[in-house]
């Protein structure tokens, strides 16, 4: 079974020969072939190539991705910088919104030309040409709002000036719909699998009640509109401790099936219980262990996840719970494929 067969069969609910391995691995792919991490974010063609090589080497099943967690800052008129030194992803330099007045005057960016979108579109053309899933990656609604204004400001406004917080959520949501619409117009809605990364909704930051009031309505709106365009599968990266939000995430339409990836903070069993009926579940090896643990420990964690994954109602893909650190020792990354080879076979 080829990598493409495995991913497609999983989404269609058909049996697969082994647990698929989902790639949350970006900067590592650059270092793996002797390139700086920034290449992954700067150069679509080289990024696609570098990721493809590493996926081939380590047996990843999905396909190269283009995206980063600070999406929205550059696109809405702020500034980011490319990673250098120890940095693993683009980071904020200047937020688009510095004051209340900035919120009022902020307008929607152009989905064709804003920020990283030209590079992202070039990348998706490469995905399409290679027959890989076409995965436009945006920040989730709340995380994007927290990239437009600093998240501390957004948090303060949620309580003290909710109109401003809602305006940011409105802009983020409309932009998400614009971008996905642009991708659907270009590639056909059925081919597009948008990804939304939502680390800022973790319960270490906001409460389930704040998630319900400020985030959920917008998540539902954008998901419904995207599905109405004809998109069949949405992927949400539900990062960090989101245990209090799980019953609320279950209210977000994600397609048939959707895909939900989780970090180590959410037990896979809880993920299956709340979201497994409608989603392929992805996760959830702690990225830290790739740096700090032994290969044997990583292998054991992967095997345990694979075994748990057998109970996933709509399927399971093994992955790290967030991006594998670029400096991870290569053999530690290999431990994932070794665990699948030894324990992940089906039938």
């Amino acid at each position: 079974m080829t990598l493409e067969d495995r991913a497609i069969r999983l989404l269609r609910g058909a049996s697969v020969d082994r647990t698929p391995l989902f790639p949350f691995i970006l900067g590592f792919c650059a270092r793996n072939a002797g390139h700086p991490v920034a290449t992954i974010y700067r150069d679509a063609e080289r990024s696609f190539e570098l990721q493809s090589w590493t996926h081939e080497q380590y047996g990843f099943d999905w396909g190269p991705l283009y995206g980063y967690a600070s999406y929205g800052t550059w696109e809405f008129g702020g500034a980011i910088k490319m990673p250098e030194g120890r940095e693993q992803a683009p980071s904020h330099v200047r937020f688009p919104v510095q004051s209340e007045g900035d919120v009022i005057s902020l307008s929607l960016p152009e989905a064709e030309t804003a920020g990283c979108l030209p590079v992202a579109m070039e990348f998706s053309r490469l995905q399409a040409a290679a027959g890989k899933p076409i995965s436009v990656v945006c920040a989730g609604n709340f995380t994007m709002a927290g990239n437009i204004a600093p998240v501390g400001t957004l948090c303060r406004w949620m309580l003290k000036k909710p109109d401003l917080a809602h305006r940011l959520m409105r802009l983020a949501t409309d932009h998400i719909i614009d971008v996905v619409g642009q991708w659907c117009d270009t590639f056909g809605a059925e081919q597009v699998i948008p990804q939304f990364w939502e680390p800022l909704t973790a319960n270490t930051i906001i409460s389930p009640k704040q998630f319900e009031g400020f985030v959920l309505p917008y998540l539902v709106e954008s998901a419904e509109k995207i599905i109405a365009m004809g998109v069949r599968h949405l992927l949400y990266h539900i990062c960090g401790d989101q245990n209090g939000n799980l019953p609320l995430w279950a209210m977000v339409p994600t397609g048939d099936p959707g895909l939900c990836s989780f970090g180590v903070e959410v037990d896979l069993t809880d993920a299956f219980r709340h979201l497994g009926a409608g989603n392929v579940i992805i996760g959830n090896i702690d990225p830290q262990v790739f740096l700090t643990a032994t290969p044997g420990r990583i292998y054991d964690l992967c095997r345990a996840a694979i075994e748990k994954g057998r109970a996933a109602p709509r399927g399971f893909m093994l992955s790290s719970g967030c991006e594998i650190p670029p400096d991870s020792p290569p053999y530690h990354v290999y431990a994932m494929q070794k665990a699948i080879r030894d324990s992940g076979k089906n039938g």
């Binding site: 030194g85 120890r86 940095e87 693993q88 980071s91 904020h92 998240v151 501390g152 948090c155 303060r156 949620m158 309580l159 003290k160 319960n203 270490t204 930051i205 906001i206 409460s207 704040q210 960090g240 209090g244 990225p287 830290q288 740096l291 700090t292 967030c322 650190p325 670029p326 400096d327």
Partner: protein, 220 residues
């Protein structure tokens, strides 16, 4: 001079106003405290600080989250801005001195800022280096301030790996300094392995854990 009742009411009002993140009330009561002749240090330590401590407990109990803590911190600072300039600093200032920063390669600061607020609420003197701070800068600032504590923050798995080197350099330069390490990717085990003297898994616990680390260092 405030009567005991006036003092108690004012300090209690400050505590409640911080916990309820009422900036205006905190500012109003801070000025009232001065008008009544309450010592600024008394108003801070027995009015503002308990309010922030209560906020920290509510965060640990998951009744308050980051939005509430940030607003409590703003309320606290509204009071500190009025009272701190009038603090009488003794020649032998025995306050705990803390250097704090997010380590090199990491630009996240919410956690670091909340920890700073908790330290300030405890009446400690904090030297905030900001984010993306390299080893040399930590060492230099600790020596310049003769800080008792250096608190290192990291939000990312990749940036936390800068900590062992920083801790080694700090200990080499000042063997008696107490190092606290914290941030989302860290565990107590990781912090200990890195050579830190203490760790707190949330900002509500940071003063308590730092005091514990300082006591352990004194007894060693």
């Amino acid at each position: 001079m405030a009567s005991p009742q006036e003092r108690e009411e004012t300090l209690k009002g400050l505590t409640e106003a911080v916990t309820q993140f009422d900036e205006e009330k905190v500012a109003e009561l801070s000025k009232r405290a001065l008008e009544l002749g309450i010592e600024p240090g008394d108003a801070i330590l027995n009015g503002l600080t308990p309010g922030m401590e209560r906020a920290g407990h509510l965060y640990e109990q998951q009744e308050y989250f980051v939005p509430e803590l940030l607003l409590c911190s703003d309320a606290l600072n509204a009071g500190l801005n009025i009272l701190k300039p009038l603090l009488r600093t003794e020649a032998s200032d025995t306050r705990v001195r803390v250097v704090i920063g997010t380590v090199e390669g990491d630009i996240h600061e919410i956690g670091k800022n909340l920890v700073r607020t908790m330290y300030e609420a405890a009446g400690w003197e904090v030297f905030d280096l900001g984010t993306d701070v390299n080893m040399a800068r930590f060492v230099e600032e600790q020596k310049r301030t003769d800080a008792h504590v250096v608190a290192l923050s990291a939000l990312m798995t990749t940036s936390m790996t800068a900590m062992p080197e920083i801790i080694t350099a700090l200990k080499a330069a000042s063997p008696r300094v107490t190092i606290m390490a914290g941030g989302a990717p860290l565990t107590e085990e990781t912090a200990k392995r890195y050579g830190a003297d203490g760790y707190a898994d949330n900002c509500g616990a940071v003063v308590r854990q730092t005091l514990k680390a300082l006591r352990t260092a004194r007894e060693a």
